[in-house]
Symmetry: C2
Subunit: 210 residues, 2 copies
């Protein structure tokens, strides 16, 4: 069985950065945006829309792009429910194929739960509010149009939606330590140092987890 | 400022073992039972009694030993409350003195909270129910008189009391990830490997945390 490392993370905590760094140190594949890219190919839905519903359970005011053409529709609740279920099922397929392919690090998308038969090493990354704010602010391009107040509100909102989404699909509480092998607070330790510490541990666990 | 590492842990999760191993790898002091031993000296209360109230918030049916003589008294609720407060205050003094003395690992006793001015690196150790049961069972001497059912019940009870005690004195939720730098699940990773991974990280954090 391949070695699968899943990363759940609070928005702005540096989980993606940690995932990339770990994949680099371990010399294994890294999947993040590739997940929604692949679902987009299979469902003909727009990546931005998928990104929003795959992780954030946002009630996205459509557009759904079909064949990359944007269409605005008023869809009823039932349609939306089927829609979520369809995307989630496709997501499960994509993740399983990734897990079958090779050792890898997978960020987000209920991957710890969807891949539980592969006994992943499950990491949860979090940080305090100020640290997440500072990290988001330093990604200037992405958030420069937001005031400090708006940015703080957005960070809370994204995490709230992630929790809602995770609960909806897994029946579990997002970020509950019992569902992870390790939970790491990045507020006062640089991501690189955390990755350097975890890499040898992750190298050694294959025998335990498979 | 000295490097202080505090360890909170679920009963049977191997937190004490991890603490000892880390102290050995880092070549620094380790405090665990020494805390209640020191409080016992200062308060003239029995260690067993202190152990029960320092961490577990158990409504211990007295004996209090005074000068090592056991006395059974019926004390009112108010007396007991003062008593808890007195012990907790002494505990804070003892922990601060330990933190002032040298770099150290301190297990239990609300140390993460009581030493927050020393910016400790705060570890929380946990495990799933089966793993904790197996670890407790392997300490045969200590629990051999208990049936499996009794042992499982005891593990839950101790953790419940620890949570209650922590909440009572700190106003915080015991084991809430926000209050720790790292939370580690020992269910499927050997303690020694965790210690080996954490030691370099802990060596490097001094500049960050002080």
């Amino acid at each position: 069985m391949n070695k699968i490392i899943t990363i759940g993370r609070e928005f702005g905590s540096g989980g993606r950065e940690l995932g990339k760094e770990l994949a680099k140190l371990l010399g294994i594949a890294y999947y993040d945006k590739e997940i929604t890219q692949e679902i987009a190919k299979r469902t003909q839905l727009a990546e931005e829309y998928l990104q929003a519903i795959v992780e954030n359970h946002t009630n996205v005011p459509f557009p759904i792009t079909v064949g990359r053409t944007i269409s605005h529709h008023n869809h009823g609740g039932e349609y939306l429910l089927n829609h979520y279920t369809h995307v989630y099922s496709e997501q499960a397929n994509v993740l399983r194929e990734m897990a079958e392919r090779s050792d890898c690090v997978i960020v987000g998308g209920c991957s710890d739960y969807l891949l539980k038969d592969y006994h992943p090493f499950r990491i949860f990354v979090y940080a305090d509010a100020d640290s997440k704010f500072a990290r988001c602010r330093s990604n200037a391009d992405e958030h420069e149009h937001l005031s400090d107040k708006q940015l703080r509100r957005m960070i809370k909102k994204v995490d709230k939606n992630r929790a809602k989404h995770y609960r909806y699909h897994t029946g579990q509480i997002w970020g509950n330590r019992a569902n992870y092998d390790i939970c790491i607070n990045t507020s006062s330790t640089p991501i690189e140092e955390i990755a350097q510490a975890l890499a040898p541990l992750l190298k050694s666990i294959k025998k335990e987890k498979s």
